[in-house]
Amino acid sequence: MSRPNRRMITVLQPGPLALVVDLGRPGHAHLGVPPAGALDVPALRLANRLVGNPEAAAGLELLMGQAELRAESSCEVAVTGPPVPLRVTAASGSRPTRTRAVSSHRAVHLEPGEVVAVAGPSSGLRNYVAVSGGVDVPPVMGSRSADLLSGLGPSPLRAGQRLPLGPVQGAPPEAGVVPASEVAARASVAVMLGPRHDWFSDPTGVLRTGRWEVSPASNRIGLRLAGPALTRRAEYRDRELPSEPMLTGSIQVPPDGQPMIFLADHPTTGGYPVLGVVLPDDLPVLAQARPGTTVHLRPVGSAGT
């Protein structure tokens, strides 16, 4: 079916890193394919609801904002994640140039040629942009998500890149503004111990009392933490672990004892022991944790497995 007048948006400025994301491509780990997808899943789902999209539609994940998008056809846009100011500028050439300030966390209507500029968030890291109809790049293995580890899916967006939009579903955008709160400089996440907690000396005690800082070397593959070392018990000190499967939220501990928490673009297997797993409900907190954020890894009871 030809679509000569396909709805589009143009990325005028991607900011530090802008990616197409949806809910990822789980179910392919046995082929070595990472899950990928939005790091702050509830924020992407909310953005989609605000513009009337199915929650799983593809949108954009912006790292530290500073992006500009131009509507090539009329559309609804919503930005979620940490609160961030937006500015909408009318089509260039219109007289006089009109600019209006709007807030994030609500649907904003754009006319063709209008540009929405997303500022840098004053807290948190990642904003999500949903556009009515969803970003309709070709899916790869069931997902439109970029994957920075394997290179599957669309590459990071470049200035001037045009993105096709899907058909509008007809659902009315959710009315009103959703309250959004700033991201705290301290993060407390619940951790279920296992499978390799028995490799470490007093893992519960170290987690309870220890505080770690998010390292600047963190990315979508994993959050690197700096703080008290998790040391191996004597009988495991020189033990090698044959590579085993990793999950989003797995806390892998290399020989230097500094934990790394795997995020959505993580490798499917890894060769260092996993002390425990961050509960899925707490992953969005980690998605927004800036370098320097203090992290408390709070041990909680096992599932009785």
């Binding site: 392919h28 046995h30 070595g32 296992g194 044959p242 999950l247 490798p267 797993v277 509960l279 497995t305």
Partner: protein
């Protein structure tokens, strides 16, 4: 067999050998295909472990435990059905001489040993479609290079420890390289995307 907790929605089965991994993986995969584990999201074999991940809140973790108790580990897993995938290889790898020297034989004998084996994809990892194949003749079970190459070309055929495999695309790598294939082993738009999926049988043939 040990079953270890792995977060609220997964478990990790720890085993003694690649053969046991294959037995557990094929039994759970069969149960999934028969509809007995409908909520399984990921079933991932590795070198000595199998991951079972389910939808949050599903009772399939308990069901998977019940399936596990019925897996016979004391006999070899059933041979995968279907003819093996034939991978044509130009045996001109940068480490062919080193492999021959280490095995105390000629390069031609390395080729004849590598093409003589029948291999099985034990698991994938490292990068999409990178299969770890077991069944390597003993003289070819050799350690990795001391220093990994920053870039191994697409299609390179290598050996490392008990495994042989093919780099589906260019990447850094430390396996000893004995040849290369022009066959496409991973294409995300193909069905199936990975030619070397777990359980697949494989033979290598010297390309003319």
């Amino acid at each position: 067999m040990r079953v270890l907790p792995y977060g609220p929605s997964a478990l990790l089965v720890e085993l003694d050998s690649v053969d046991q991994v294959r037995a557990v993986h094929s039994a759970l995969h069969e149960a999934y295909r028969a509809g007995r584990l409908p909520d399984v999201v990921e079933l991932v074999p590795a070198a000595r472990t199998v991951l079972v991940a389910v939808r949050p809140g599903s009772s399939d973790l308990h069901a998977a435990r019940a399936e596990l108790s019925a897996v016979p580990l004391d006999r070899p897993p059933p041979a995968p059905s279907g003819p093996p995938l034939i991978v044509p290889v130009h045996y001109d790898g940068a480490d062919l001489e080193l492999v021959a020297r280490t095995a105390n034989c000629s390069s031609a004998e390395v080729v004849s040993m590598h093409t003589g084996g029948v291999y099985t994809v034990a698991f994938c990892g490292f990068s999409p479609g990178f299969g770890y194949l077991t069944g390597l003749p003993a003289p070819l079970r050799q350690p990795r290079l001391d220093t990994a190459r920053p870039e191994v070309p697409t299609g390179s055929v290598g050996i490392a420890d008990e495994f042989t495999g093919v780099y589906p695309r260019a990447s850094p790598g430390g396996w000893r390289l004995i040849g290369r294939t022009e066959m496409t082993l991973f294409d995300p738009s193909a069905q199936p995307p990975a030619a070397l999926a777990p359980g697949r049988r494989v033979r290598f043939r010297a390309a003319s």
